[in-house]
Amino acid sequence: MNKSSSKILIIDDSVTPEDYRVKDLKFDYEDVLVLNTPDSAVEFIYNNLDERFIAVLDYSFAKDIHTGKYVLDMIRDKTQLLPVILWTAYDDDVKEYPEFINQGTFAVVAKANYDLLREKIKEADEKLSNSVDGALEEWISHHSGSDRYNSFLVSSSGEKLSLDQILSEIRMQTETGRYFEKILIKLTIDRLMRKEK
């Protein structure tokens, strides 16, 4: 079976890279990374905003002043595109559930239910594939060849962008990225409609 190009990021202080859930996920996803503290997770995500990730986020960190809520807030400060799955051992004790929902958490999974976690990761992965950035990434990998590195588009401010750069701009939710995403959707709908006629 082909591996998904998504990387899984597990943010949890009780999981090690030796954990069998990590090993199991590695069969199906490009990579599985484990980060044990909220700060290291935020730093990592900020430095890799242009990559295709799915985050699995624990709620409580025994040694840290921050909870998973902080990590989610920090993620959402930069991007809405990264799917975040909350997993917690206290499945009925998180007082900030409404906030998690408002911040677009992809799913909430109890820690003991690993199969559900797999299922939710798979759904998140499918969603990523269907998103503009996911579709674009797939298209680039199949069709573009060297175009991905060459300048492909000139922005209104005169900036030259390659396909890879456009993808990165979309993932980082920059103004250019959001603009490109919008016109791409508009154009696609337009094309579809015309064909139908």
Binding site: Y20, F27, A62, K63, I65, A89, K111, A112
Partner: protein, 741 residues
């Protein structure tokens, strides 16, 4: 972005066009335009202002920021909503010129409040309004606003009319907006295109201030609603931090007699059972905090914490005091602690919530276990004013959703600080309660002894008195004997009731601490189950790939380890279930030595030197398991604390019998306990050994077990230097053994 241009005023029969207004006339439109977009309208108006009392609060805050001395909140014909219903907020603040309206009022996010955190001279008030929220608050009260304003140095009054219905209408249209329709796009109207009528009138005097008249009122205001508004507004200014320039709020109503013209006062607080002030010394940068020691609630000083200095005024009310307070202040609420910044309430505490049950416990006072039970105080027993300032506590920041503060280290420190002060207060209250109990007991015994003397005096007098008085003396003696019997019975009943109460409290505590255990254990079990489920799933999916054989072996080993850990959790649960049942005689010295002996293999493995020095045997009758739990948890805690020592690792237990106490000093030379953690180290979940597998339950067990034996435990100066920890445990005993009730 299309910014509204300055344009001429509508003049339908009204006076208009002062020189200033004339100078900015343009032919492009008919009114002033707000400079913001739809999301700002929704965010600031509808979403941030959650209710109408908060909306009023925001408008009154605006008056405060404008250096007003007086503001009145006036309600006219609001009991039943009609065309005549209106609310007026009138202040004698600085007022605004036409240019102020144009450049400040109509522009969101660039107001003077944000560039300068102080109001103009001579008041220099710390501004409390939030990012232009006030002007949108009006929308929550009614949909039409007429703002009339004048500066002292200006000969003109400017009036502006805003109809929020227009914005609402457009907001709905924008929701349905189809960006692909180019024709519509070209003619699309923006929020910034909506015109607000204004006009200018002349007035040559030095009057000043702003009046906001709100009509098209949304909801009726009953007397109860206005009373709520009164109570909330009374909280705006701290009663303890007197403002240099007083700010008076009045409520007026043409319908309700009680609110005909009533000044809103933050009341002086009387009748509290305890009144406590925690200050700071800005010269030497020292923070006071409470410490209960030897029957007294003292103030100790420590250097400033990261959160900055804090001034705290705390009023505690017992039941009787609460009743008196409520009677005097007509149902006035005793509703917990609030944070004031520079004398004015902070936003998270300014959000109004009518139902007590829905009130947010921002500082976490009532989230504490047993809050309101036994010796724990709850928000309904306390009134407190926590004074911070913009300058001293810059990192305590209201969060943008106005429901709390930004979650950072400083804010957490502030919360812990407050809870610690309450912990000390609780210890003091408990100490006082115990002292009173002992006093009552002693008074009763005193009365009994005096009666005894009285009876014997009566008997002596009888024997030396003439015989015709004997009958009367006999009757007196009989009566005193009877009274003595009553008093003795009373003493016995008092002691019995006290014992019964203690037993009940212990039972409650035991049941409630079982909840804590249950929660902790659920966490441990679920984490473990998660790992095992992961392994099972892995095996199910990957077997029988032979090249993974090593992995499979590792998986089996991990399952085994997890099972062992689950087993130890079950053993712990069982030991808990069995505890509190059998009391028996045992030797404290033998038991402690045995406990150390049982850990011999760990000491050897970790290369730890253990020292046990107990000066004499002490036979006591109690629950042996309790003492075992105490020693085992202390050992386990110390093993984790010394684990990463570079040099020698020592765990030492000294036991002394002193008068009626057995004293244990338990020390290690591990990484020690931070000063700020000394009070909370015994709390459940508070752990500094998480990396070594501490779950934050061990020292909690130690404390609860010791307390159930009527003893005490505290962290004292560490015996080993430079780092380490020493616990001092005092267990009282009588000739029958450790006192258990």
């Amino acid at each position: 972005m299309a910014f509204g241009k300055i344009i001429s005023a509508d003049n339908r029969g009204r006076k208009k066009n002062s020189q200033e207004a004339n100078s900015s006339i343009s032919s492009e439109g008919q009114g002033l335009k707000f400079r913001f977009d739809v999301s700002t309208f929704r965010l600031l108006g509808r979403e941030l202002i959650t209710d109408r009392i908060t909306a009023l609060f925001e408008l009154v805050k605006n008056s405060y920021d404008a250096n007003a001395d007086n503001v009145s909140v006036e309600f006219y014909n609001v009991n039943k909503v009609s065309l005549n219903s209106k609310i007026i907020i009138r202040d004698d603040g600085l007022g605004m010129s036409y240019t102020d309206i144009k450049n400040k009022w109509m522009v969101i996010g660039t107001n003077s409040k944000r560039s300068s955190r102080l109001s103009p001279a001579p008041y220099f008030r710390k501004v409390v309004g939030q990012k232009g929220v006030g002007r949108f608050a009006v929308d929550k009260l009614g949909s039409t606003m007429t703002l009339t304003t004048k500066r002292a140095d200006s000969p003109q009054i400017t009036t502006l009319e805003t109809d929020w219905k227009e914005y609402e209408k457009l907001s709905k249209q924008l929701d349905l907006f189809d960006p692909s329709n180019e024709e519509l796009s070209a003619n699309r109207k923006f929020f910034t295109d909506i015109e607000n009528r204004y006009w200018v009138e002349k007035r040559n005097d030095d009057s000043h201030g702003t009046t906001i008249e709100i009509t098209s009122i949304r909801d009726p205001w009953t007397e109860l609603d206005i009373e709520r508004a009164y109570k909330e507004l009374a909280k705006l200014v701290s009663p303890i931090n007197k403002l240099n320039h007083p700010f008076s709020i009045r409520i007026k109503s043409n319908e309700y007699e009680n609110f005909k013209d009533l000044e809103v006062l933050s009341k002086a607080i009387n009748h509290a059972t305890e009144e406590i002030t925690v200050k700071f010394d800005s010269e030497n940068k020292l923070q006071e905090s409470l410490k209960y020691e030897k029957g007294e609630l003292k103030l100790i000083t420590t250097p400033y914490k990261k959160m900055g200095p804090v001034y705290l005024k705390l009023y505690y009310f017992d039941k009787k005091a609460k009743d008196i307070y409520k009677k005097e202040y007509q149902g006035g609420n005793i509703d917990g602690l609030k944070i004031y910044r520079d004398g004015v309430i902070t936003t998270p505490f300014a959000e109004y919530e009518a139902q007590d049950i829905k009130k947010r416990d921002i500082l976490g006072i009532d989230k504490r276990r047993y809050s309101g039970f036994f010796d724990k105080v709850s928000s309904s027993d306390l009134l407190g004013f926590i004074e911070i300032s913009e300058t001293n506590n810059p990192s305590i920041i209201d969060s943008t959703n106005r429901q709390d503060f930004v979650d950072n280290e400083e804010y957490r420190e502030l919360k812990s600080f407050i809870i610690e002060q309450l912990d000390e207060l609780e210890k003091y209250l408990k100490g006082e309660k115990d002292r009173e109990k002992r006093q009552t007991e002693s008074n009763l015994k005193d009365a009994r002894d005096k009666l005894k003397v009285f009876t014997s005096i009566v008997r002596d007098l009888r024997n030396t008195s003439p015989s015709d008085l004997h009958g009367q003396f006999d009757a007196l003696e009989q009566q005193s004997i009877q009274i003595k019997a009553y008093v003795e019975r009373g003493i016995k009943q008092y002691i019995d009731i006290d014992k019964k109460l203690t037993r009940q409290e212990n039972l409650f505590l035991s049941l409630m601490s079982l909840q804590d255990y249950a929660l902790e254990i659920a966490h441990v079990v679920r984490t473990s189950l998660g790992k095992i489920a992961g392994i099972a799933s892995y095996l199910y999916r990957r077997l029988p790939e032979t090249d993974l054989n090593e992995e499979f072996r590792g998986a089996a080993k991990q399952v085994y380890d997890e099972m062992q850990s689950l087993d130890s959790v079950v053993s712990f649960l069982l030991s808990y279930a069995k505890s509190n049942t059998d009391f028996k005689e045992f030797d404290m010295k033998v038991l402690i030595e045995k406990a150390f002996d049982m850990h011999k293999h760990i000491f050897e493995k970790e290369n730890i030197k253990s020292i046990v020095e107990i000066n004499s045997s002490l036979l006591i009758t109690h629950n042996e398991k309790f003492v075992e739990d105490i020693i085992e948890n202390l050992i386990s805690n110390s093993v984790k604390a010394v684990k990463n020592n570079d040099g020698e690792k020592i765990i030492k237990c000294t036991g002394l019998v002193e008068e009626n106490q057995f004293i244990i000093y338990f020390s290690d030379n591990g990484y020690g306990i931070k000063e700020e953690d000394k009070n909370r180290i015994f709390n459940i979940y508070h752990t500094s050994t998480a990396e070594q597998g501490g779950a934050g339950i061990g020292l909690y067990v130690v404390k609860t077990r010791i307390e159930s034996m009527k003893g005490s435990v505290e962290v004292i100066e560490n015996e080993f230097k430079p780092t380490g920890a020493t616990f001092k445990i005092e267990l009282p005993f009588n000739k029958y053994g450790i006192k258990n009730e």
